[in-house]
C-alpha cells in the first residue's frame, strides 16, 4: 500500500501562487465575493504563506506553500465527533462532506490552519459553474473542506490501473493539480514508502524538514530548506 506524500523545494518556489489557483480550479473551490474575500474568508486548500526573516538590509522573505500536511497522526481526525474526517490506509486525510456537521472542531484543532469552512452556499455566478470539475463534488454551505491531495485523481488513476490489470498506480500516474502546475518544478509527489521514488529520496535529503514536527503530527508534506549559494570562486 502506497503512502502518498509531497515534497516542496522552498529553494525553487517563486511564490507565484500557481498552485493556489490550480487547486481552486481543479477542486471546484468557489471564488469569494470581494466583501468576503476582504474578510479573509478565501478558501484555498493550498496557500502561500510569507515568513519574513530579519530586518533591512539583511531581510529575507521565505514563502511557504501550505497545503494540508496529511499528517500520519492528524489532530483533526481524532476530534471530529462524527467521523467525517478520516485518514485512510494510504495516509490521505479526507473530509466526508456529506457527513460533516460543521462544528469546526477540526479547523481549530489543526495546528497548520489548513482546513476551511463554507461560510455560505458557494457562489458560482452564471455561467461559471460550467467549468465545474465533474470529478469533484461541490460542497454545500456549512461544512468543512480541505486539501485531498486531489484524491479524485487517485480514484481515476486506480480505475485505470484496475482496468489494465495492474495492482498499483504507476509513478507519475497520480499527481495533484498543484504539483502539476508548478512552473519551477518545486513540488514533487509520490509514494513515500517506495524507497526508489523521487519523494522518498528527497525526503532523506539533509535539507528536508517537516512543519511543526515537534507536535508529533508526522506530516507527509516535506519541505526542502533553501539551498546554499554557490561558492564565491568558480
Amino acid at each position: 500500500m502506497a503512502r502518498w506524500g509531497m515534497v516542496i523545494d522552498l529553494d525553487k518556489c517563486t511564490a507565484c501562487q500557481s498552485c493556489v489557483v490550480a487547486c481552486q480550479v481543479e477542486n471546484n473551490v468557489p471564488s469569494m465575493t470581494p466583501e468576503e474575500s476582504l474578510k479573509g474568508r478565501n478558501i484555498s486548500w493550498i496557500k502561500v504563506v510569507p515568513f519574513p526573516e530579519g530586518s533591512f538590509p539583511e531581510a529575507k522573505i521565505r514563502f511557504l506553500p501550505l497545503p494540508c500536511m496529511h499528517c500520519d497522526d492528524p489532530p483533526c481526525v481524532t476530534v471530529c465527533p462524527v467521523d467525517a474526517t478520516n485518514i485512510n490506509e494510504e495516509g490521505i486525510v479526507r473530509q466526508i462532506f456529506a457527513r460533516c456537521i460543521g462544528c469546526r472542531y477540526c479547523t481549530t484543532a489543526c495546528p497548520y490552519t489548513v482546513r476551511y469552512f463554507n461560510w455560505y452556499e458557494p457562489i458560482w455566478p452564471q455561467p461559471m459553474e460550467q467549468a465545474h470539475n465533474p470529478d469533484v463534488s461541490v460542497r454545500p454551505k456549512g461544512v468543512v473542506e480541505k486539501c485531498t491531495f486531489c484524491h479524485h485523481r487517485l480514484q481515476k488513476a486506480r480505475a485505470n490501473a484496475i482496468a489494465e490489470d495492474r495492482a498499483v498506480v504507476a509513478p507519475g500516474e497520480y499527481t495533484p493539480a498543484c504539483v502539476e502546475s508548478c512552473g519551477p518544478k518545486a513540488m514533487y509527489f509520490g509514494d513515500l514508502d517506495d524507497p526508489n521514488s523521487e519523494v522518498s529520496d528527497l525526503s532523506r535529503s539533509p535539507r528536508a524538514f517537516r512543519l511543526l514536527e515537534e507536535l508529533g503530527t508526522r506530516p507527509k508534506v516535506i519541505y526542502l530548506a533553501e539551498g546554499e549559494r554557490s561558492g564565491t570562486t568558480g
Partner: protein
C-alpha cells in the same frame, strides 16, 4: 404509584385513549406524507424501447458510449439516433416524434434516472469493465423493458453500496467513493 393511576376516573381514561389514538393517526399520516412524494417518476422525451433495440442487435455501448472507458455511461446524442432514424424505419408514433425532433434540430434531452449523490465518485469503467458487474445488476433487465424506467432499479444508498462492496471484497474505505 400505580395504585393512584388506577384510581383515575373512567372519563379521564377514555379521553386519554382518544388522544392517544389521535396521536397515532397523526404519526401515521406524517409517515405517509414523508414517504409518498419521494419516488418521482421520470418522463423521457421519447418512450424509447430498449427491448426492441437490443433485439435488433444494438449493444449497450452503442448508445451509452462512455461506460466502458470513463466514469460516466453517456447518454445517446441526437446524432446517434439520427444514424438510423433520419427517416422513419417503422410506424411507431414515438419514432415519428423522434424524427420530427431530429428534423427540427432540437436537442435530445434525456433525463438522468440513476444519479449518485454529488459527493460520490462512481466509475462505470471500474464497475462494469474491471469489476465485471453485469449492467443488469444495477439497472435491471433493460433488454426486457419496452419503455424507459420511471425510477432507478437500484436504490442508491450508502448501505446498498457498502453491502455490495463487502460482498465482493471491494474497498470500503470512505475515500474510495466519497469525493
Amino acid at each position: 404509584m400505580a395504585d393512584t393511576v388506577q384510581q383515575e376516573s373512567q372519563e379521564e381514561n377514555a379521553g386519554h385513549r382518544n388522544r392517544l389514538l389521535a396521536g397515532k393517526a397523526f404519526v401515521a399520516a406524517f409517515l405517509l406524507a414523508l414517504i409518498w412524494p419521494f419516488t418521482p417518476s421520470i418522463e423521457q422525451p421519447i418512450q424509447y424501447n430498449h427491448q426492441k433495440h437490443i433485439a435488433a442487435g444494438l449493444e449497450c455501448s452503442n448508445c451509452h458510449t462512455l461506460y466502458e472507458n470513463s466514469a460516466w455511461a453517456g447518454l445517446p446524442t441526437a446524432d446517434a439516433c439520427a444514424a438510423c432514424h433520419a427517416e422513419p424505419v417503422t410506424d411507431s408514433s414515438e419514432e415519428a416524434k423522434l424524427v420530427q425532433m431530429l428534423s427540427e434540430g432540437k436537442p435530445l434531452e434525456w433525463k438522468q434516472v440513476n444519479r449518485v449523490p454529488n459527493h460520490v465518485y462512481f466509475s462505470h469503467k471500474t464497475h462494469a469493465v474491471a469489476g465485471e458487474i453485469e449492467c443488469a445488476t444495477c439497472h435491471g433487465k433493460m433488454d426486457e423493458r419496452t419503455a424507459p424506467p420511471p425510477a432507478p432499479f437500484f436504490e442508491w444508498s450508502m448501505d446498498n453500496c457498502i453491502n455490495c462492496h463487502e460482498d465482493r471484497n471491494a474497498s470500503v474505505d470512505c475515500n474510495a467513493c466519497h469525493r
